[in-house]
């Protein structure tokens, strides 16, 4: 009788432990779910990448001008000089534009950099199309090396009417800093 009761307790406790373990897994599942959700909702840093069709079919809207502002930011102690070539441009939606960002490695060793973009207002991010960007790949810098890095973009003519100003911000990270922190 007592044995049976203990087995019953053990069984239920085991199930509840499994539930706890499953919820621990669910915490990690939130990581890919979050990416999927942001992708679907088109938010965060996930700017649109245009398809070939969309690019060739788009006709520039010569009547509309949108201001695109370029911002460069660095975190504390980041070993870089980093700034855009121009701080803002007037662009027609549907037309391609090119600009550059300049970065220089201030250290005496080789560094790998990653630029992380962000668009404000968030609503504009899916209408800001980059066909070429230094943020797509990691950038290698020799000790003391400085260079311009290219960016080619288009503002989608579908951009909602009330948006007349888009701010594109890049934060420039040294990839090693992450690896080094990891020992």
């Amino acid at each position: 009788m007592n044995d049976g009761r203990e087995r019953r307790h053990g069984l239920l406790a085991g199930k509840l432990l499994l539930l706890a373990a499953a919820m621990f897994g669910f915490g990690f599942l939130l990581v890919p779910l979050y990416d999927v959700f942001c992708e679907v909702a088109g938010i965060g840093t996930r700017t649109g990448t245009p398809t070939a069709d969309a690019v060739s079919e788009t006709t520039p809207d010569q009547d509309r001008l949108v201001t695109v502002e370029f911002v460069a930011s660095l975190n504390q102690y980041a070993p870089w000089e980093f700034h855009p070539a121009v701080t803002s441009m007037q662009v027609h939606p549907g037309e391609f534009y090119e600009t550059t960002y300049y970065a220089r490695n201030l250290t005496q060793r080789h560094l790998t950099a990653q630029a992380v973009p962000s668009i404000a207002p968030g609503q504009a991010s899916e209408y800001f199309k980059k066909v070429e960007c230094f943020c797509f790949t990691q950038q290698e810098f020799e000790a003391g090396e400085g260079r311009d890095m290219g960016l080619k973009f288009m503002v989608d003519p579908e951009l909602p009417e009330h948006i007349d100003r888009i701010t594109l911000s890049y934060t420039f990270f040294a990839r090693q800093a992450v690896a080094q922190a990891g020992g």
Partner: protein
Amino acid sequence: MSNISTHSHEQHDEHHDHGPAKGLLRWVFTTNHKDIGTLYLVFSLIMLFVGGTFSLVIRAELFQPGLQFVHPDFFNQMTTMHALIMVFGMIMPAFVGFANWMIPMMIGAPDMALPRLNNWSFWILPFAGTLLLSTLFMDGGAPASGWTLYPPLVLQTGNALPFAIFAVHLLGISSILGAINIIVTILNMRAPGMTLLKMPLFVWTWLITAYLLIAVMPVLAGGVTMLLTDAFFGTSFFQAAGGGDPVLFQHIFWFFGHPEVYIIILPAFGIISQVIPTFARKPLFGYSSMVYATAGIAFLSFIVWAHHMFTVGMPLAGQLFFMLSTMLIAIPTGVKIFNWTATMWRGSLSFETPMLFALAFLFLFTIGGFSGLMLAIAPADFQYHDSYFVVAHFHYVLVPGGLFGAIAGAYYWLPKWTGHMYDEKLGKIHFWLSAIFVNLLFFPQHFLGLAGMPRRIPDYAVQFADFNMLSSIGAFGFGFSQLLFVYIVIKCVRGGEKAGAKAWDGAEGLEWTLPSPPPYHTFEEAPVVK
């Protein structure tokens, strides 16, 4: 196998006849639910003063504008440690202590279902608490990022980071094990005739709380583990440089964090639901609606988390969803508030200390609920976010809410636990001091927040000086008033007017059929509930 279990069974019986073991080791090896309940309650009372001391450092620094006593970084360590200790070391263990003491006696069970596990889940706590407090003495100091541990700020913590994270892991394991034990006890060990819908409401609220704990503590454990690997193993869950996103941590944290606030308040709801009928001398109004309202609050708590982070940016649809789902919580909570009020309607009320704390709970928790509704309004939240208004809001629901619930429960069951009535006169003085000072402490913070004073900053603009001074006076008054509570409890344990089995004439339930204090082992023969 069967031999062994028979043998241990005999030993067990022998043990019963002798009552508690002698000496201090009794407390280390005990598997008795009453002993473990006492351990939990004493531990949380100690932590109340540890966490309270930290908050007094904060309030001393904020007594006047300018930097007076502590370094700003130490100030931030104090806000962080105050919150971590109060949430994980004080209020949660306090309610687990109540659960240990009362649930077996309320459902007619001889003990908790898994007594050894019970011993373990308590004894993890002092070690976890020590680990957490030890970070104060480490290079770089304790975590100073707020209890929410947001990256990237928290990753700048010095040597304390892994210790704080392991402490959170241990605290989480302790509460998950405690929760499993509570669920198994409630589902498997009820006396014959004690159907689910006959259980006292305190048992119901704990059953639902325990499920919440099992569902969300592991998510927090996962989140802080990601912080750990980000800091030491080169992963990039939250590091933008490696393709991660710090906002993800906020989602994970609040997916845990919002149910967590109901983990704290639901057991208090349960205690209030025992206290008010006793002193209104009427059965609880709308018992089954109370049960369903509790379950409804628990369900909603899983789908409202992002209201803590309206300002990080989210689509309009997201803001609307989280705003409206948050406001929905007001409905089941309103059901409870009105049911408690209706319980008192035309009752023959008397105002002993537990009832006074319950009434203050009812009134002041509702204020906290209303400011919560204000914060739920997404467009208005941009003004309140990270201001003292938020501090006022959650302290109103946690202190005159959660803590007053626990204090009401302590006064209510002290005669049962100790066999003595506590000093009613001192209890009433304790109540009035607490009730007045808690409002002096937290009410001005509403005004400070609306006027724009940010939280977690050791200095402020001079126009905030007067309200901050009032708030600090309230803090010291409230803190020292709690010493009176300790005195009352010790006095009651040592002696006093003998309490009968049914210490309160209006009390109902199985625990009041037992003598006061109850024998070491109770309900070895299950009572039959009609």
